[in-house]
């Protein structure tokens, strides 16, 4: 039997929307205390709906909803502080973050720390700061928060601390091991990069480049073959 639940003034972001019935929307919300939830915004597609201008991705919202089933009913939505709209490349980065959340988080699995990381990422993108470090920070926070135990401090074979001057190979679900002599074209990551990532320091250009390759490999693994549409669209744009 489903319990009637009511959630009030919940901080959240819209990740995606789909049209629903004649005038409504199904809204994928990423909320602070309830994780990713689907809510129906009734009448939100009517021209004069109060929800119309509020239900918008990349804007911090406060949401009220009710219902205990998989689909909740949105009762109220208001903006919570004004943030400039994301623009240009920052906006494309925002879509990428949203798609990662939609594809990798389970419904109603609360991740308050990940929510805070997302809110920080969106605010930073909104200020027009460099985007690559924002993406890498969020990818790492996402993998860690989902419990994939990304070890970046020690050699996963010997347990010894990483040597910043040595090269490593990151083995999925194990961690870094020293780069073997016959590594072929295995992607090498320097100890310095791994230690930088562990310390959340993305100031070195090499760290940015190598962490991007490493995190992409990990994310592709956990996506299990799902294609990221936002990545495909970006790739198509570069080809035009």
């Amino acid at each position: 039997m489903s319990q009637k639940q009511r959630v009030d003034q919940q901080p959240g972001f819209v990740l995606h929307t789909h049209p629903w019935r004649e005038t409504s929307l199904i809204v994928e919300v990423f909320s602070r205390d309830h994780g990713r939830v689907a809510v129906v915004a009734k009448g939100a597609r009517r021209p004069m709906s109060a929800l119309r201008g509020v239900i918008m991705a990349f804007q911090p919202l406060l949401l009220d909803w009710s219902g205990g089933g998989e689909m909740k009913t949105l009762v109220r939505a208001e903006r919570c502080g004004g943030q400039p709209l994301l623009a240009g490349r920052a906006l494309m980065c925002g879509y990428y973050l949203n798609e990662l959340l939609v594809r990798l988080t389970a419904r109603e699995d609360p991740h308050a720390a990940l929510f805070d990381a997302y809110a920080r990422a969106i605010a930073t993108l909104g200020r027009g700061e460099p985007q690559e470090p924002v993406l890498r920070r969020f990818e790492l926070a996402l993998l860690r928060e989902l419990g994939y135990g990304i070890g970046l401090a020690s050699d996963s074979d010997s347990g010894a601390p990483l040597d910043p001057r040595a090269d490593y190979v990151y083995i999925i679900e194990r961690g870094p091991v020293p780069l073997p002599e016959d590594a072929g074209d295995l992607p090498a990551t320097s100890g310095q990069t791994l230690l930088d990532m562990e310390r959340d320091d993305f100031s070195r250009p090499e760290t940015l480049v190598q962490s991007k390759t490493l995190l992409r490999m990990l994310i592709n693994h956990y996506l299990g073959g799902q294609i990221l549409q936002s990545r495909r669209v970006l790739k198509e744009l570069l080809e035009l």
Binding site: H16, P19, R21, E22, T23, R45, G53, V54, M56, A57, F58, Q59, R79, G81, G82, Q83, P84, L85, L86, A87, G88, R89, L91, M92, G94, Y95, Y96, N98, E99, V102, Q229, S230, R232, V233, L234, E236, L237, L240
Partner: protein
């Protein structure tokens, strides 16, 4: 007991309309057949006729009965200005201002990366070819001020800039007649970011 198959087929066909579910489709079918047979006949003929004669204008991509629509063929209009909008309804709004005398390009949609609607689905190559015809001096981006509209504008701007075409974007801010007290904070934040010197 099952209904006649021609009725079922009509109901099913009506569901092709946007946001029409089975219930509404049934209601529409009963209405047309029972209460408004003349209207139903007119609808059927108009639809068949439109399907037969309408196509996309080669120049602006909106619906036209000729290869090139009247607006695009009009020598009185300024052929150096090209305004890009998402839908024909947006074009109609721009025309209502009676302030714009250039030409248009109608995308018939918008970029939506999470739905997999990218440059290929939007046929942006067609717009790029149109904007690089030599006559166009400035492209005005009038896509919506939603995230999708903004993403669409950004992408088109980048592609056109790379081809040396001058690009501008409709400006935005507090609505005409709008009071700050009753304007949402997002709009005010945006107006502040995009403030201009006096």
């Amino acid at each position: 007991m099952s209904s006649p198959s021609s009725l079922d087929e009509l109901i099913e066909a009506l569901r092709a309309l946007p946001s029409v579910g089975p219930k509404s489709a049934q209601r529409m079918a009963y209405h047309l057949l029972q209460r408004d047979q003349r209207g139903a006949g007119r609808l059927a003929r108009a639809l068949a006729h439109a399907l037969e004669v309408l196509r996309h204008c080669e120049r602006c991509n909106t619906f036209s009965e000729t290869d090139i629509c009247q607006r695009c063929a009009n020598p009185q209009r300024d052929h150096s200005l090209l305004c890009v909008v998402e839908m024909p309804a947006d074009l109609a709004m721009m025309e209502q201002t009676q302030l714009y005398n250039g030409l248009y390009y109608v995308l018939m949609g918008r970029l939506s990366p999470l739905d997999g609607i990218g440059p290929r689905e939007l046929r942006l190559d067609k717009l790029l070819a149109r904007a690089s015809d030599g006559a166009v001096k400035e492209v005005i981006l009038a896509t919506n001020f939603t995230n999708e509209g903004e993403a669409t504008a950004h992408v088109i701007a980048e592609l056109l800039a790379a081809r040396g075409v001058r690009v501008s974007r409709l400006s935005r801010g507090v609505p005409v007649g709008g009071e700050l007290e009753h304007t949402d904070s997002g709009t005010i934040a945006q107006a502040l970011v995009e403030r201009r010197a006096l």
